[in-house]
């Protein structure tokens, strides 16, 4: 491996969060963006080597790069109680999260309008879990709070950015008849 790739590996190992490329660039004054990109690719290829691969992989998500253990080891690690998978979200929480992810910044009333139910409790849970946060206030009556997704949301859903979610016109929408049937 190149010295830069090794340096990046050390930095990513030391960090407990996803490291943005801009921060990786600061590790070596001599490095440029292309160099870091190439070194990250080198590192990824090193981990993913078909014969001599590693138990961790290099993943770009949550606005940065991160080392993650491979899925095949999750069961054993959790059984040994070394780490625990985060609790699954309820359907209600996922729906609320989906609406916020697409419509942010969005107020609580609009979320309730789309979902057809009151969402106060779910919203509080999502804020507590750090997936959603208040990102402003709307103009208008009562200046309601506006919510948006957080970097942790991106991380827990393995997204690089929100735009990576399927666009509205890419969704199948099973009920839409005007779509060309294959």
């Amino acid at each position: 491996m190149s010295p830069l790739a090794r340096l990046l590996e050390a930095a990513l190992f030391a960090s407990t969060r996803a490291v943005p490329e801009a921060e990786l660039l600061r590790l070596d004054p001599a490095a440029d963006a292309d160099g870091v990109r190439a070194a990250l690719e080198e590192l990824r290829a090193h981990y993913d080597h078909p014969d001599d691969g590693h138990a961790v992989e290099l993943v770009e998500q949550g606005g940065g790069w991160q080392l993650l253990t491979r899925a095949e080891f999750a069961e054993a690690i959790e059984r040994a109680q070394l780490a625990e998978r985060p609790a699954r979200l309820s359907a209600a929480a996922l729906e609320t999260l989906a609406v916020i992810a697409y419509r942010q910044p969005i107020g609580r009333a609009e979320v309730e309008e789309i979902r057809g139910v009151s969402v106060g409790g779910v919203l509080k849970t999502l804020v507590e879990r750090g997936l959603v946060d208040v990102i402003g206030r709307a103009e208008g009556l009562g200046r309601p709070l506006l919510y948006g997704t957080t970097p942790l949301f991106l991380e827990q859903f393995a997204l690089r950015h929100v735009a990576e979610l399927p666009r509205a016109d890419e969704l199948a929408v099973a009920l839409r008849p005007d779509l060309p049937t294959p």
Binding site: T16, R17, E57, V59, Q61, Q66, L67, L68, T69, R70, A71, A74, I77, Q81, A83, E84, R85, P86, R88, L89, S90, A91, A92, A93, L94, E95, A98, V99, A101, Y102, I114, R115, G116, V117, S118, V119, G120, G121, V122, V127, E128, R129, G130, D133, L152, E155, Q156, F157, A158, L159, L165, P166, A168, L171, A172, V173, A174, L175, R176, P177
Partner: protein
């Protein structure tokens, strides 16, 4: 238990039976089960089935569903109104419902997408992965030795601070040291006053610069003495000066020193 109840439940324990996450979910399920055309919903039939399902729900959970049920019934009524064949202004009352259903269907598809992503992400641990649940449990503040997790989010910090603040009892901010009333002392003062003159006024008993405890002591002393007949209180006119005179009961007839020996309890309670 349906989603409506799950909404209100704390995060810790959410049981979701294969129920519906809301009224729109239920309506979509009905349309799918009956293989109906969402653009031409037979409202009468759907409304009837919707209500039947809502009746089966626990009452607490039904509130969110009743709103949509009411809308369905209203749309049904609107469709029954006669209209001219060439009425171009007529708008299908179902249009708004269809729009909402399609929007909601999109949300459901995003949920499927998110669920799949989260599922694959859950199986991969980052460095310093999620701490064991017991340690971060609510109630008491867990202190763990060893490496400190530095990647606490603002929300985590706030909720931790909240737990600490709630665990530590609020200090007593305002501590009033009660100054015991001195009723016997005041009685002595009044007696001394009345020994020298036949009558006195409130002003003579309580000076201008008297503290509240002294005023109260004097008041209680006078009331006590009036009760025992030692003094007579009179007030000529509203807000007039209170005149204090020797009462019919002779001082000598009273217990030698402290009338409060027998009736002390109320005075102390008042203090």
């Amino acid at each position: 238990m349906t989603a409506a109840a799950a909404d209100d439940a704390p995060a810790a324990f959410v049981v979701e039976l294969p129920a519906f996450s809301g009224p729109l979910d239920l309506l979509l399920a009905l349309i799918r089960d009956e293989r109906l055309d969402v653009y031409d919903i037979p409202i009468a039939r759907v409304a009837e089935q919707f209500l039947a399902r809502v009746h089966a729900l626990p009452l607490d959970d039904a509130a969110d569903y009743l709103d949509l049920a009411a809308r369905l019934v209203r749309i049904k009524a609107q469709l029954l109104l006669p209209r001219g064949a060439d009425d171009e202004l007529w708008e299908d009352p179902r249009a708004e419902l269809v729009r909402r259903l399609l929007e909601y269907q999109q949300v459901r598809e995003v949920v499927d997408h998110l669920e799949a992503r989260a599922e694959s992400r859950r199986d991969r641990f980052a460095r310093g992965a999620v701490p064991r649940r017991e340690l971060a449990d609510e109630g008491d503040v867990a202190l763990t030795l060893g490496p400190v997790r530095s990647a606490a989010t603002l929300a985590e910090l706030l909720s931790a601070a909240d737990r600490v603040l709630r665990a530590a009892r609020a200090p007593v901010v305002h501590d009033v040291v009660a100054r015991a009333l001195d009723v016997p002392g005041a009685i002595g003062h009044v007696r001394a006053l009345l020994a020298r003159r036949a009558a006195a006024r409130w002003r003579d008993v309580v000076g201008d610069d008297a503290e509240p405890w002294q005023v109260l002591s004097a008041l209680l002393a006078l009331l006590e003495m009036a009760k025992l007949g030692e003094v007579r209180l009179a007030q000529h006119g509203t807000f007039g000066a209170v005149e204090i005179a020797r009462g019919p009961g002779d001082v000598l007839a009273l217990p030698a020193r402290d009338p409060l020996e027998t009736t002390g309890e109320p005075a102390r309670a008042a203090a």
